[in-house]
């Protein structure tokens, strides 16, 4: 009974996904009604997670309920709101996608909290299968290609993961994360096999986090998928992976961090550099945002490496801010058009569509970490913490990468404001529907507000962690 009480938000999400699917059967023609339903349901999830913030404990021996996990649930709820609302406005997409976003959210919620390898695998597959379905849902060739690509590579990485889990079970006779730590401490352990098992698991997780060198799927999938779906993969799925990475390194690998420290250090640096330099070369805004997502993954490795209470508050803050700005940017990309994501289509948008261009500029500047927007606060908090944890070189590499990233974010702004639209072509007919506008407005308001007044939120997070 008490275990069930602990996981009420998860049960609620599962229940709401089913309700959405069933009610949606009846009202799917009225997307606005679906919009109200989802918004109400997700705001419900948000408040439920808020109410459960201080409830902690271990449920079923598999899920560690803590303020950290619940704070990440808030991030997932925001990510789901931002992507579902935009999704519902795209009439060529079937409404069932909303269901998959909700089940994906369930998977993300479980993934960020699991302390057991079986639960890890289940949560990861719940999340992944929802995403595979989402990517290919429109049924056009491009979608299908992206979906297949994502599925094949994802399944490949899952097989590594399950291989690692099996190996680990053979060695430790347990699925619990903590068993790994104790088996390292036990005398006469087989270090080679242990490391092999954990490496397999690590590969599976790095794939999810789109870390270099397991990042190749990201730009292709983002380009093929509908913008709200790409937004969801970039935000909720990735942040769940980092929540898990933090807990797995906090629990399972704590006994000999040196073994993993160097590995993660290089993963972080490589991910930052590859993400940022590849983004420089991209001419498509969606692919650029994909590489930007990779680069941000590189920054997020820094708190994972640092460890300690600071790292969990950083991950929560960064995840929330990153979700707001990336979700907002993808929502604007959806407005401009999925097929019109080449930079050429952004020429002169500042003139033809001033509000759209202004909002995208806001999100891009925030992604570039320019004050006084939320992105600056998040970056500042992250890098200040990195300096404090003694990761000076990593912090400096990260800051330099921030400068590189300014180039490609600002290039979009250049196209929108400083170039004239080609020829006398008609300004694009933009579909800024109601729910998309709501999502963009929410994200923009939060990005600006958190930039100017980050104090209360930061206090709130630090008070809990």
């Amino acid at each position: 009974m008490s275990d069930l009480y602990l996981v009420i938000p998860e049960l609620y999400t599962a229940g709401f996904a089913v309700v959405y699917l069933l009610v949606g059967l009846i009202i799917r023609r009225w997307r606005w009604l679906l919009g109200i339903l989802t918004l109400a349901g997700l705001v419900g999830l948000f408040s439920l997670s808020l109410a459960h913030l201080s409830v902690s404990g271990v449920a079923f021996g598999m899920l560690l309920l803590s303020p950290f996990g619940r704070l990440l649930d808030l991030v997932f709820a925001v990510a789901a709101i931002l992507s579902i609302l935009v999704y519902l406005d795209m009439k060529d997409l079937p409404y069932e996608g909303g269901f998959f976003i909700l089940t994906g959210t369930l998977g993300a919620m479980l993934l960020a909290k699991c302390v057991d390898f079986v639960m890890l695998f289940l949560a990861l597959e719940t999340l992944s299968f929802s995403l595979y379905a989402l990517v290919g849902l429109r049924g056009t060739r491009r979608d299908a290609e992206a979906g297949i690509k994502y599925f094949v590579l994802g399944a490949f990485s899952s097989s590594f993961l399950i291989m690692g889990v099996a190996l680990l079970y053979a060695l430790t006779r347990s699925f619990a994360f903590s068993a790994v730590a104790s088996s390292f401490a036990a005398p006469g352990h087989n270090i080679g096999l242990l490391v092999a098992a954990l490496s397999f698991i690590g590969i599976g997780l790095l794939f999810k986090a789109s870390a270099v060198p397991f990042h190749f799927w990201t730009p292709d999938v983002f380009e093929g998928a509908a913008a709200p779906v790409a937004s969801y993969i970039a935000t909720a799925s990735k942040m769940a992976a980092f929540g898990l990475l933090l807990s797995i390194f906090g629990i399972a690998f704590q006994t000999n961090p040196d073994l993993w420290w160097g590995l993660l250090w290089y993963a972080s640096v490589l991910t930052m550099f590859v993400g940022n330099t590849a983004a420089l070369l991209e001419r498509s805004v969606k692919r650029m945002l994909a590489y930007s997502a990779i680069a941000h993954a590189g920054y997020l490795f820094i708190p994972v490496i640092a460890g300690g209470p600071w790292s969990s508050s950083t991950i929560v803050l960064y995840a929330l801010v990153y979700t707001l700005m990336t979700g907002g940017a993808f929502a604007v990309v959806a407005v401009i058009g999925d097929e019109r994501s080449s930079l050429e289509f952004y020429k002169g948008l500042g003139k033809t569509r001033p509000l759209t261009a202004f909002l995208l500029t806001l999100f891009l500047l925030s992604l570039a970490g320019i004050p006084p927007l939320a992105g600056f606060i998040a970056k500042f908090y992250l890098f200040a913490g990195a300096f404090r944890s003694g990761l000076t070189s990593l912090a400096i590499i990260g800051l330099i990468n921030g400068v590189i990233s300014a180039y490609y974010y600002l290039r979009v702004v250049v196209y929108m404001y400083m170039m004239e639209p080609e020829g006398e072509q008609e300004p694009p007919r933009l579909r800024a529907k109601f729910w998309t506008a709501v999502a963009v407005a929410l994200a923009a308001a939060a990005t600006v507000y958190l930039g100017f007044f980050p104090g209360p939120l930061l206090d709130f997070i630090k008070g809990l962690l």
Partner: protein, 509 residues
């Protein structure tokens, strides 16, 4: 609330109505912008009125709000004599900038006004922030509107110039931010006043590193040779008001950073590196002057002359005595007035002829006498003619350099001669040579509005030239403080009380 907060909030709040004004209503838009920036200038005059000159080295008008209490950063503002003058310069030049833009800016007027107002708020913020993190926020926030000013309303090569400007500055910002974070971790505070006390106890090696990190960031902004390569592009491609603010205010942020952060925070390192700074300044003076000499484009010429002029300011500052520092401080204002004025005139000429090539002009003295006279006065102030403001600043800076190292002063004086050469050559080509082009002969003389733009500048040019004491007394205690910290052996005090040897005090002119 506080006057300083009001100074920052007014331009930002004034943006909101602009969103709702129609783009077509150009008269309303410009009137609104001019009124708002005029109000802002009047507000800043309020600072002057209530500023306690007896405590000019202390931070006055202090306000403090909690901003990020959990990491110990608070929104804290305050000004001393140096900040006061720079804030006045900012609001003054922004006001004139709007006044000069009404004919020049033909597209996206609303966005232009918004960008200029955001700029103004950020610039004022930089000069009065007493919290290192808040300082950094304003420092960075200023980049975006400037980037738009160059990139949207600039000349042909604007995109390249805009990118170069923002990437250079951001690269410097990384170093600045690293230093700010390092100090925060070491001392647990972002409070500028507390930090300035605390950092003086750091060992020399730490001081040197931090000094370098901060100083490179500021040197890019100044710009000090060899970090100057962004400047000619940005200044030449920006629209008139953008160039004026770039030269008049933004470059001063670099010097301000040196004098507010680098020198007083790390005095021992400052003593170590001052000769190097002076060396770079001298290279900048000579190199800038030679580059200026060969320019054929009026705006690029003025831009390169800034490199040389800023060299004098840094030279004065790095002589580490009160003459030099006073020279640097007053020269910051002077350069804002005279180079700002030159850019205004370049803009007015461009509006008339749509070219910036020196060769396209000639004989303007006959065609447009009013413009030529004002041009002449502003040009001579830039040359450093005695009786005009440029002389006072350069004299003090060189007097300071003389006391530190006689070779520096000798090279610096050479720079003054070069300045006279290139500016007079330019003036001769544009204003005095034969009036052989039909377009130049038909050029209209200054309108009343344009006279209103230039006349206040000329007024201050003469005022500072004749009686600099009005302005120097605001910075006297500030520079004395810096000297006492950095170079305690050197005498300080009111300028006219200083023991004088062979040099006459400038304040007695």
């Amino acid at each position: 609330m506080g006057l300083l907060t009001a100074l920052i909030i007014l331009p930002v709040a004034a943006i909101v109505p602009v969103f709702f004004m129609p783009e077509k209503a150009r008269r309303t838009l410009w009137t609104y912008a001019i009124v708002i920036s005029g109000l802002e200038f009047l507000l800043s005059l309020g600072l002057l009125l209530w500023f306690d000159l007896g405590r000019a080295a202390d931070f006055q008008f202090q306000v403090r709000f909690n901003w990020l209490p959990s990491i110990g950063s608070s929104f804290r503002l305050g000004i001393d004599g140096m900040s006061l003058l720079l804030i006045l310069l900012t609001t003054f030049l922004t006001f004139l900038g709007f006044l000069s833009s009404t004919r020049y800016i033909e597209k996206k007027r609303k966005e232009y006004i918004i960008a200029m107002l955001v700029m103004e708020a950020a610039m004022v913020g930089v000069f009065c922030a007493l919290d290192t993190l808040v300082f950094f926020v304003f420092w960075e926030a200023m980049l975006v509107p400037m980037y738009f000013l160059i990139g949207i309303w600039g000349h042909e090569n604007k995109l390249y110039a805009a990118f170069k400007f923002i990437l250079y500055t951001m690269a410097g910002s990384v170093l600045l931010l690293s230093a700010i974070i390092w100090l925060y971790i070491q001392f647990g505070t972002f409070d500028l006043i507390a930090l300035t006390q605390a950092t003086r106890g750091l060992p020399l090696s730490a001081q040197e590193l931090l000094f370098l990190a901060m100083t490179i960031a500021f040197a890019i902004k100044v710009p000090l040779f060899p970090f100057h390569t962004w400047l000619p592009h940005a200044h030449a491609e920006a629209p008139t008001a953008g160039s004026v603010l770039l030269a008049g205010v933004l470059l001063k942020m670099g010097v301000y950073g040196l004098l507010r952060f680098s020198f007083p925070m790390f005095p021992e390192a400052a003593r170590v590196f001052a000769p190097w700074l002076a060396l770079l300044a001298l290279i900048g003076i000579t190199y800038g002057a030679l580059m200026t000499w060969v320019q054929t484009d009026l705006k690029r010429l003025i831009a390169y002359s800034s490199v040389a002029h800023l060299g004098f300011i840094v030279l004065g500052a790095s002589s580490l005595n009160q003459w030099g520092l006073q020279g640097a401080m007053i020269q910051m204002i002077n350069h804002g007035l005279s180079t700002g004025g030159l850019f205004f005139i370049a803009g007015m000429l461009y509006e008339r002829r749509h070219t910036r090539q020196l060769a396209a002009f000639g004989g303007l003295a006959k065609a447009v006498p009013r413009l030529s006279v004002l041009f002449g006065i502003i040009m001579l102030s830039s040359v450093g003619l005695p009786g005009l403001n440029g002389f006072v600043g350069e004299f003090l800076a060189l007097a300071g350099a003389f006391r530190s190292n006689i070779v520096w002063a000798a090279v610096g004086v050479l720079g003054i001669i070069l300045a006279a050469v290139y500016l007079l050559t330019m003036f001769q080509k544009v204003v005095f040579s034969k009036l052989d082009k039909e377009e130049n002969a038909r050029m209209p003389d200054l309108s009343l509005r344009e006279v209103f733009v230039l006349a206040p500048l000329v007024l201050f040019i003469l005022w500072i030239g004749v009686y600099p004491h009005t302005f120097l007394r605001y910075t006297d205690p500030v520079s004395a403080n810096i000297v006492q910290v950095v170079n305690p052996q050197t005498p300080v005090g009111q300028m006219h009380e200083l023991p004088s040897d062979e040099t006459q005090e400038a304040s007695h002119e």
